[in-house]
């Protein structure tokens, strides 16, 4: 597991935000109700993620270790960039477009 926070940890952070910071200041009944429903939905996502296997980061760890030992070849940068792109397409897909202008 190397992507931190994990998807599950992110749902926890959102649930804490909704429950701890948003819910206490909501006075509108409809909004309170919908926020509680949203928190329930997040709970479903959290439990569903429990069922998934953990991310396999063996290759990423090996690559990081090789670079730390100074084992850098002309191919290393492309490997590293491909790995970052995979993570970025999840974390912030539109960011890459900023380099295509």
């Amino acid at each position: 597991m190397s992507e931190r926070p994990t998807a599950q940890e992110l749902t926890e952070a959102i649930a804490e935000f909704l429950g701890g910071e948003i819910l206490p200041v909501l006075t509108d009944h409809r909004l309170r109700f919908r926020t509680l429903v949203a928190m329930n939905a997040l709970g479903i996502v959290h439990r569903e993620l429990d069922e998934l296997p953990a991310e396999d980061d063996t290759e990423r760890r090996a690559l990081a270790r090789r670079i730390r030992r100074g084992e850098v070849t002309p191919a290393t940068l492309a490997q590293v960039k491909a790995d970052v792109e995979i993570r970025l397409r999840i974390a912030s897909p539109r960011y890459i477009e900023r380099y295509e202008r």
Binding site: E16, G70, K81, V84, Y95, R98
Partner: protein, 304 residues
């Protein structure tokens, strides 16, 4: 909070907690006919090597005495409602980076940034004996404490080690000198904030930090913090300091700045994950750090 403040400042307005400020709280308060800002500790620190509020107050005081545009320091308080804090003047102007890059900023702003940096770098280091020297190894230590594999950061660190420029004499560095940590109005630079990362370092480290793409707030084609090209800024700095900093040196420190911030994103997320300060804002930085790692790859491609 108001009571605690009034014990130090006398009659004061009700303190208002301001938005922003990831590692420190900021409270706006008026007392003694002055607009004041209270900077108070929050949970955890971004980097292990950030200054205590006591030392930060001392740096601010010395910078103020050296004529650097900074908020006037008022008083250090070792315990304000259970936490360390200090009080300083509350400057008027814009601090939010994404707003500054969309403002019609005057052409002198980049020159003013160079001028203030020259003043900071001229502060005798003996005045601030507690400042420590930054080293690449420190960045490696911080990354190891996070404990996650980040090949792009590793490759950035490797490149910085392999391509280190001839060292310059170390000077007092602000340590986080960029749009987002300065106050700006329509006339230009009002003041420089957030001195907690002050340390001793190569002067070009400070000069290049503001070039980091994350601090351009979306205006990517203006390399100096989304507000200007680097040439006038660099020329003015060289003129005032008598140094002859070359653009290639700025490139090196721009990459170093990105590595620092990539690790900063991870350590911020750790504050959330370790429960020092639970915040969805800190949490997501752990993932958004991938943007900074992508920029590291981009800069390494350009350097190759």
């Amino acid at each position: 909070m108001r009571e605690a403040l009034e014990a130090v400042l006398g009659p004061a307005s009700e303190p208002v907690l301001l938005a922003g400020g990831a590692s420190k709280e900021a409270w706006a308060v008026d007392a003694g006919g002055e607009r004041l800002l209270v900077r108070r500790a929050a949970g955890g620190v971004i980097h292990r090597h950030s200054l205590s509020l006591r030392d930060e107050f001392e740096v601010l005081t010395v910078a103020f005495e050296a004529g650097v545009k900074v908020p006037r320091p008022v008083v250090y308080i070792d315990e304000l409602d259970g936490r360390e804090a200090f009080v300083m003047e509350r400057l008027e102007g814009e601090t939010i980076g994404r707003r500054i890059v969309r403002m019609d900023v005057p052409a002198r702003l980049p020159l003013q940034l160079a001028e203030e940096l020259a003043k900071i770098h001229a502060i005798p280091r003996e005045r601030l004996p507690f400042l420590t020297e930054a080293r690449l190894e420190r960045m490696v230590e911080e990354l190891d404490e996070v404990g996650e594999p980040h090949p792009a950061i590793e490759l950035g660190l490797w490149w910085l080690q392999e391509n280190m420029p001839a060292p310059r004499e170390q000077v007092v560095n602000h340590g986080d000198y960029r749009i987002g940590n300065v106050v700006v109005d329509e006339k230009g630079l009002v003041g420089i904030l957030d001195w907690e990362f002050a340390h001793l370092d190569d002067p070009v480290r400070d000069l290049g930090f503001g070039l980091v793409r994350a601090w351009r707030f979306g205006v990517d084609d203006k390399r100096l913090g989304g507000i200007a090209d680097i040439e006038p800024y660099l020329e003015r700095y060289n003129e005032l300091t008598g140094l002859d900093v070359r653009p290639e040196e700025l490139d090196y420190w721009e990459l170093a700045g990105n590595v620092v911030w990539a690790i900063g994103c991870l350590t911020q997320a750790q504050r959330h994950l370790r429960g020092q300060e639970r915040s969805v804002e800190l949490a997501i930085l752990g993932r958004l750090g991938a943007e900074v790692e992508y920029e590291i790859c981009h800069l390494l491609e350009n350097a190759a």
